[in-house]
Symmetry: C2
Amino acid sequence: MDTLPDVTRASAGPIAERLREWIRRGVLRPGQHLVQEELAGELGVSRIPLREALHGLAAEGLIAVQPHRGMVVAELGRAELAELFELRLRLEPALAEEAVRGCRARDVEALRAAAERMREQGADAEGRAVENYRFHRRIYELAEQPLSLRFIDQLLHLVEPYSRRWVRSGHDLARIDAEHDAMVAALAAGDAGALRAAIVAHVEGARDHVLAAHG
Amino acid sequence: MDTLPDVTRASAGPIAERLREWIRRGVLRPGQHLVQEELAGELGVSRIPLREALHGLAAEGLIAVQPHRGMVVAELGRAELAELFELRLRLEPALAEEAVRGCRARDVEALRAAAERMREQGADAEGRAVENYRFHRRIYELAEQPLSLRFIDQLLHLVEPYSRRWVRSGHDLARIDAEHDAMVAALAAGDAGALRAAIVAHVEGARDHVLAAHG
DNA sequence: GACGCTGCGACTGTATACAAACGCAGCGGA
DNA sequence: TCCGCTGCGTTTGTATACAGTCGCAGCGTC
């Protein structure tokens, strides 16, 4: 009887989810000071559940708490971004290989559809980022390894404020879509090695662009 | 200007720290239902900062939140424990190799002293567990990779309630101490490969015992 | 006897209210 | 002119108080 995730909390859960999204989308920017009453007003709640959500995000590394001085959106330096991608390269390919084992025909179909939805977004950076996240997460879900999934989620949330800049720039749309297609094909063929290679190339591509842009 | 960790929160920080220790030490056991007022009373605080600390622990996976039904100490099944050790094996050896690069003479000395302190605990399971944690963490600190350190901390916190049973049983004291000595020697020699091998053996040993005990 | 309903008790979730800490503007002195 | 101090305003941190939800015991019904 595992009592693992269920990150669903009464209201702190939804609040944290919305804050995560605001951070991902750049509504709240790295380094930005968060005034509790202000945020609470915008969210339509009091400071109590807001603070609970913020403490959750702090544990995920998305927010830094400075006692008696407020909370700020976490800011990653170049070294930390590089480290983050190293972690992704250590976890994601391994999890992808597991995903091949748990992949059924209808999963392949769902992924193909997800890749298609992303392609349909055209140059809409926001839509592409959302669909991109869903696509990758869906692959990792197939591995049925909840702890790994959790950690990868944390990593993806941490990096998104930075990778969005790249997505927004609109470069490499075709290449990214092609790489996604390659992943789907690898899963359909049950070829773990090919999937791993595609993931590695994908993450390394993201790393290079993010680090270049972040200078 | 990184605004990374500083997990230090005004009071939620210390409270979370104490709760983590209670979970590690088995004062709070996996699956146990946590009554907020009760806990708050024992800690000498009100429910507000306690809840903030609990939400932090929930984000770390140490606690599961069931909306309107209370929080329970997270319980890991056999599959999750196996997964956890897989993650450790994926992260710790890599970080250890980095540690070699950042290791100075006085660091080696400090580690030797830490290993010695652990040995001095004799069969005191509690003392050994504490010193053991400090020893390993000190190695990983040398790598100066804050994100990785954070994740490994999470993993170690998650596994401790289970590995303690093994430590408590008192088996393999000599072997563990010898492995620690090997790590110190590898660091002193600047031999990344040897350190990696020692870590892998160490973690695999822990895995085998924990999984065997957990059945 | 088993099932469903109802009301109570206990606990969680949240708003309000207050206490404490920080930071800055303004003043005084060197 | 620059430095340090003081006092106020703003913001965070926490306790109290109340509203909402859940679970169970007890009753009634089929």
